[in-house]
């Protein structure tokens, strides 16, 4: 079997090379000695104060990583301008949470009901929010008179305090993302549309960080062909759903960043060992994850398994002393959950908070039904399982087709034939990826523990979606959860699949496959944007 080229590690290329890609250098390449000089300088600077140390750390990040981050940033910025105000999924509720936090200094409470503030309601009326959302046939406001009315609504000076204590669907979410969003909210002054755009820009920044950490994860986990990892990260930076979510106000954008950073730390720990500093970082990331979005619970299960496996591996090779770092990470990571439960116990609330409702469904004899439901939400039904999605191939109709395109308020999709055409490149990527994995099966065996951790993270995220969907769909009688954005915490693994597929094309065709992959993702992104533009402004 032909192999992809195994080039020398390119860790020497540092951020100075960014100039060559953004047009700062005429020949597009920096001298070969420059990166090494930069690295040595970075080494000299280490230990000369926190600012210089930080510069040295950033200086070690390859130029290509910064370019991927810049691409994701520009892409998400474009998405933030394309999507009309409050037409990001649940954006009005997330905005209401931030407004509540900024105005009252407390977290929203209640059962998820929301009555928006008079000012927010007025602006939503001005943009015809309720008429446009869920209605692909209804465009955004289109006349100068409507714009004039909207501007009057924006400057009406009505109360910005929510009329209820709730923030709709966002009420039960943890506060960290919303607390950060208070900064752009306050910077926006009294203009709600300016506030919203500035808040979207924070998400844009998270999009860039997600691409950056994905790059670092791929370089760490697939080091033998650095450029294939770059292609994987570049494709992630161009991924349109990441751009859309990062370009709207949604805690998912921060969750993706935290998830990508965790993947990077885990890859580094499995490859180089879990140092105390890395353990501290990993523990803090888990804390940030828990404080960002409840969905992180599913993700965290795999992280704790990873810490356990790292502890076992460390104890075998270096004795009990190696247990300290994983224990530190686990203790830091679990702390917010313990504090949360303690606070609930002290204040006579359900110990597990809003998770208690989900947990109670497992205990009343419905475990088999719940597992069957979660299975069928993603995969074909097995014999003996009750039938939950009659007439629907969920893996294709829900997850694949909607991954090809589902934007706005779940109301903007490509025509069905596009989804079918997209099966061809998707199958090609899957086959090439499988070919590479088969060819590298010995290396895979050596990294089995790491792969088990990534697999557990994936299963944890899917299980979280499945259980939440079961509760919403079958118990509270609302809707099933069928949005691919829930899968994006695993977006670094998508980058990994792309990188493996490129390598799977073999030594001769790998560069061609890599270039084709970049064009494919770029095209997907641009046509997705055109689809959204046609839907709202056509």
């Amino acid at each position: 079997m032909s192999r992809a080229p195994v080039g020398p590690p390119q860790t020497g290329r540092t951020f100075v090379g960014l100039r060559s890609l953004t047009g700062g250098r005429k020949n597009g390449r920096e001298p070969a000695a420059q990166p090494r000089r930069e690295t040595r300088r970075g080494a000299r600077l280490r230990g000369s104060g926190p600012w210089l140390r930080a510069r040295a750390v950033f200086g070690r990040v390859p130029a290509a990583a910064w370019v991927c981050a810049l691409i994701a940033l520009l892409n998400a910025f474009a998405w933030s301008l394309i999507t009309p105000p409050f037409q990001g999924k649940d954006e009005a509720d997330h905005f209401a949470y931030v407004a509540h936090l900024a105005q009252k200094g407390t977290l929203p409470e209640g059962g998820g009901e929301v009555e928006y503030s008079p000012q927010e309601s007025l602006v939503m009326e001005g943009i015809h929010y309720y008429g446009v959302r869920f209605s692909p046939q209804t465009p955004a406001i289109s006349t100068a008179a409507e714009q004039q009315t909207l501007m009057e609504d924006v400057s009406a000076g009505d109360s910005t305090e929510n009329s209820t204590e709730g923030a709709g669907i966002a009420t039960s979410e943890p506060p960290l993302y919303y607390a950060l969003q208070v900064i752009p909210y306050e910077l926006g002054g009294g203009n709600m549309l300016t506030q919203l755009q500035l808040m979207r820009l924070l998400g844009v920044l998270f999009g860039a960080l997600t691409a950056l950490f994905t790059f670092l994860f791929l370089r760490e986990s697939l080091p033998s062909v650095p450029w294939a990892a770059t292609v994987g990260a570049l494709c992630v930076a161009l991924q349109p759903l990441l751009g859309f979510i990062s370009g709207s106000v949604n805690p998912d954008s921060m969750l993706y960043t935290v998830a990508a950073a965790v993947f990077y730390c885990l890859a580094r720990a499995f490859r180089r060992g879990l140092t105390m500093r890395l353990a501290l970082a990993l523990g803090l990331l888990v804390v940030i994850g828990f404080l960002t979005k409840l969905n992180f619970i599913g993700f965290a299960a795999g992280v704790f398994l990873g810490l356990l496996l790292l502890a076992v591996r460390g104890a075998r090779s270096r004795g009990r002393g190696a247990l300290l770092a994983p224990a530190l990470a686990a203790c830091i990571g679990i702390a917010p959950a313990l504090l949360y439960m303690l606070r609930n116990a002290v204040t006579n609330r359900p110990t597990f908070g809003s998770a208690a409702g989900v947990a109670s469904t497992i205990g009343n004899g419905s475990l088999f039904k719940e597992l069957s439901y979660a299975w069928q939400l993603f995969l074909p039904r097995l014999p003996g399982m009750p039938h939950y999605f009659v007439g629907m191939a969920t893996f294709k109709d829900v997850w694949f087709d909607r991954s090809v395109g589902l934007y706005g308020w779940m109301d903007t999709m490509f025509p069905g034939w596009v989804d079918n055409v997209a099966l061809v490149p998707a199958a090609a990527v899957a086959l090439l990826c499988a070919r590479e994995l088969y060819a590298r099966r010995r290396a895979l065996r050596a990294r089995l523990a790491e792969l088990v951790v990534y697999g557990t993270i994936t299963v944890g995220v899917l299980a979280m979606i499945g259980i939440s969907s079961y509760t919403s769909d079958l118990i509270t009688g609302e809707a099933a959860f069928g949005e691919p954005r829930y899968l994006l915490p695993m977006i670094p693994l998508l980058g990994g699949a792309v990188a493996l597929a490129v390598r799977g094309a073999g030594r001769r065709w790998a560069p061609v496959a890599g270039a084709a992959m970049v064009v494919l993702f770029l095209g997907h992104d641009i046509f997705s944007q055109l689809q959204v533009i046609a839907r709202y402004y056509g």
Binding site: L74, F77, K396, D411, M413
Partner: protein, 221 residues
């Protein structure tokens, strides 16, 4: 060299596909109900087949849009009859969401003033909300038996009114001819209005494309 060729061919292909897509016209409503639906016709979690008479079918209709709400849509089959003669039909997989489903149908060269539109939902287990407006009972849509309904199907009951239906055909101007109006439209509804927003989006995406290509050329070897 092969990387350069691949990128050049790929980007040229994207440009050609994009240019071709912009020569198409956006669909326009040529007949059907005006304004949003104002009543729930039925709410169920299962299969249903419905026929409603008195539907005008203009020529060149390429799709039928029916008002119904779903988070996870279901399989749809639509058939339009003149008397008992099938004029056109189409299907849609369970791949849609939102408050309407658009089902493509084979266009006809001639119009028909009086047709019967039938649609079948199923197999389905998702909650279905069918929307429309109330009418006098004789004009209301009929619930019929079977997954392949037609005017001769056995009636099982009536809905409280008619389901909202819109008939779509190709519009008159291409997307190319609408570029300016779309750019103007993009400049509305925000804190800062103006056509420059569309230009900024174009500039951002041009920068994305240039950076992606340069990074690819630099890294792949």
């Amino acid at each position: 060299m092969r990387v350069k060729v691949t990128l050049a061919v790929g980007i040229a292909l994207l440009a050609i596909i994009g240019a071709f897509a912009l020569t198409r016209s956006p669909p326009r409503v040529v007949a059907g109900t005006v304004g949003p639906a104002n009543a729930v016709m039925t709410h169920l979690a299962g299969d249903i087949s419905v026929c409603q008479a008195g539907e005008p079918l203009p020529a060149h209709v390429s799709a039928v849009r029916l008002s119904m709400w779903a988070f996870l849509g279901w399989k749809m089959h639509v058939a339009i009859y003149s008397g008992s003669q099938l004029l056109t039909q189409g299907s849609r997989a369970a791949d849609w969401t939102s408050d309407s489903v658009t089902v493509p149908v084979a266009p006809l060269d001639r119009a028909s003033a009086e047709t019967t539109l039938c649609f079948a939902i199923g197999p389905n287990s998702e909650p279905a909300l069918i929307l429309g407006r109330n009418t006098a009972p004789p004009e209301a849509a009929t619930v019929v038996r079977g997954a392949d309904p037609g005017p001769g199907s056995t009636p099982e009951g009536r809905l409280p009114g008619k389901v909202d239906v819109e008939y779509l055909a190709s519009g008159q101007g291409s997307w190319w001819s609408r570029v300016t109006s779309v750019a103007n439209h993009m400049g509305l509804g925000r804190a800062f209005s103006g056509t420059w927003i569309a230009l900024l989006v174009a500039a951002l995406m041009a920068a994305v494309a240039v950076l992606a290509v340069r990074l690819t050329l630099r890294e792949i070897r």
